[in-house]
């Protein structure tokens, strides 16, 4: 368990108790957004924990935020429906103008404004963010944007979207990482007027979408920071995202280990609990050990982030190790449950599907390994 914060954890567990497996199964089956759960988190002020008190949030650090997310997952709920409301605002907080901060942050803190969508990934660029093609061209006091995004999660359930678009052609940009800019897009105004959102049916209930952008007019006042510096702005936000997703994976792993353990104690085959067999015990014990180890890395990364220190390596390692620990635990839990792991009523198959995501998104395992190889170990650049 990363950090302690028992007061926070206890309240989250109490809140989550109101959203049992049956609630999630129903939304999962119907592929509907768990609005009631997100509303409960919003009303409780939980999603505003990282927003400074001056803007109406609780001004807490990433360690507390991690405790919240971990506990949500460990309770069997799915924080993915809401986690972005916590950290997406970080880009505005750190790089936005005073006018942007005072107009958006208090509304986001109060839950009146949902900033849940972040459009980075594109059909043609994928992992290679720098080659994204969505183009924003200045036109008086507006930018005209054209292009498309894919896998933009929660776009249908968000009022605002952060959008990463190219403002300087790649060949004209002063450096490889310059030429991209971040914009705040008001989806409430833009839908049907330059933005079309289409949900993508997926193996999990994640409300993820395709976003088509056609001559969208974005006020120049909605540009965050300086034009062309957008890639740098989103990088530190990505560290926060990776650490929090890592914490979610730890919560998932705890859930799987607990479920597997309970089941192994009670399921009797050959006149003994299956958990009496070391062949059943050991994978659960190993999954537990891996979860604990990964939790230490999540904690370390969050502590560095909160101290304002460099944490790129730790954030990436935390996400890598935690997503692997939760996947190991998921597979072990599935195996422990035998055939019943496949039955919807035990929630194992749902959590199994959901846990798999974090080896792919928000950054896939290979990209982290390549970051570690190149930037930490100094191996030759591969792409």
């Amino acid at each position: 368990m990363s950090g302690n914060f028992s007061d926070i954890r206890e309240q989250i567990r109490a809140l989550c108790a109101g959203f049992p497996g049956a609630y999630w199964r129903e939304h999962d089956r119907a592929r509907t957004y768990p609005r009631e759960f997100v509303d409960a988190l919003t009303t409780g002020g939980w999603l505003a924990c990282l927003i400074p008190e001056a803007y109406g949030g609780s001004g807490l650090g990433l360690r507390e935020a991690a405790a919240i997310m971990e506990e949500i997952q460990a309770s069997g709920c799915n924080g993915a429906a809401a986690h972005a409301q916590m950290y997406t605002m970080g880009t505005i907080l750190r790089h936005g103008s005073d006018a942007q901060k005072t107009s958006y942050l208090p509304e986001i803190a109060a839950g009146r404004l949902r900033l849940q969508a972040f459009g980075v990934t594109e059909p043609e660029s994928g992992t290679d963010t720098l080659s994204l093609r969505t183009r924003a061209v200045r036109d008086g006091d507006h930018y005209i944007v054209n292009g498309s995004k894919v896998w933009t999660s929660r776009a249908e359930h968000s009022d605002l979207m952060l959008l990463l678009a190219r403002t300087t052609a790649r060949e004209d940009a002063p450096s490889r990482t310059e030429g991209l800019s971040v914009f705040i897009v008001d989806l409430r105004e833009a839908r049907g007027k330059g933005i079309e959102i289409r949900p993508i049916p997926t193996m999990i209930n994640h409300a993820t979408c395709e976003v088509f952008i056609d001559n969208l007019r974005v006020p120049a006042a909605n540009l965050i920071g300086e034009e062309g510096k957008g890639f740098r702005y989103i990088l530190d936000g990505m560290n926060a995202e990776r650490i929090l997703i890592g914490a979610e994976c730890i919560g998932d792993a705890r859930w799987f280990v607990a479920r597997a353990g309970d089941y192994a104690k009670t399921r009797k085959v050959f006149n003994r609990p299956i958990g009496q067999n070391q062949g059943v015990q050991f994978p659960i014990a190993r999954a537990y050990a891996q979860m604990r180890a990964a939790a230490l890395m999540v904690e370390r990364a969050a502590a560095l982030f909160d101290a304002g220190e460099r944490c790129g390596e730790e954030a990436n390692l935390a996400k890598l190790l935690a997503s692997e620990a939760s996947w190991e635990a998921a597979d072990t839990c599935m195996q422990t449950f035998g055939g019943y792991g496949f039955a919807e009523e035990f929630d194992v198959e749902r959590k199994f599907r959901e846990a798999r995501l974090y080896r792919t998104a928000p950054i896939s395992t290979n990209m982290i390994l390549s970051y570690v190889a190149e930037h930490v170990l100094g191996l030759p650049r591969s792409y």
Partner: protein
């Protein structure tokens, strides 16, 4: 009007209680603790009275080990204004707690003392009644509805076979039952505010209370394991089983 709420830290309701190896009591080391659920209802009611403008201040008091302060913080996060911690390691009997509460009530001069009807650890159901007797105040136990009007309270009580409505003059002692309200979850901003609210410490001795036990616990044992049930075919067979196998009629 000030409301004083007495709360107790007990084994979490979701934890399966285990008897200590030596039979001297229930195991509490490394066991998850929480506020007694009935006390939580009492705190919630006090906060609602304040929100409704009927109470001016809500004060929670609890006797117990150092960690009792966490439980007091939980009450402050629900919305109580300040806390009083009376440090004491080990168990306190209901009479000692009632004497402690009497001394605190004399200092604080509340118009109303709210307590849970019982604590889920020992299920004594005595403290509120003893406190009312010691103070010489009216009492209304097992409340499922409380209406305050001026200096009197109309209380709906859950009694065997139904509900009873009584009016009591304030100041009074009310113990609360399960259906009185549903306690809220503490929000994050309220947890943060609770950290800044004051908790005073008062020693038992300063309240003139002698914590020495008057009762002796001889032995605590697990209830006997339940045997499996049986199915009966007819009413006659049922009567026969009740009479001859179970020996209850």
């Amino acid at each position: 009007m000030k409301v004083l709420v007495a709360i107790k830290r007990v084994i979490d309701a979701n934890v399966k209680a285990r008897v200590r190896q030596d039979g001297s009591g229930v195991e509490t080391t490394n066991v998850k603790m929480a506020m007694n659920p009935f006390c939580e209802i009492a705190v919630e009611e006090a906060v609602r009275l304040k929100e409704a403008g009927k109470a001016t201040e809500t004060v929670v008091v609890s006797a117990g080990a150092q960690q009792t302060q966490e439980t007091i913080r939980t009450a402050l996060a629900i919305g109580a204004d300040r806390g009083i911690h009376v440090p004491h390691d080990g168990a306190l009997e209901p009479l000692a707690v009632a004497k402690m509460l009497k001394a605190v009530a004399e200092r604080e001069q509340p118009g109303l003392v709210l307590l849970g009807k019982q604590a889920i650890d020992d299920d004594c159901n005595q403290t509120g009644q003893m406190l009312a007797a010691l103070l010489g105040w009216p009492q209304a136990t097992f409340a499922s509805k409380i209406e305050i009007d001026g200096d009197s309270a109309t209380v709906t009580r859950e009694v065997d076979g139904g509900l009873e409505k009584i009016a009591v003059k304030m100041p009074c002692v009310i113990t609360v039952d399960l259906r009185l309200n549903e306690p809220r979850y503490a929000s994050l901003p309220n947890i943060m505010k609770a950290k800044k609210k004051p908790i005073d410490q008062i020693a038992l001795a300063d309240l003139g209370v002698d914590p020495a036990p008057r009762l002796k616990v001889l032995k605590v044992a697990e209830p006997p394991a339940r045997g499996g049930g049986i199915k009966v075919e007819t009413a006659a067979e049922l009567v026969d089983k009740l009479k001859n196998a179970a020996g209850v009629i």
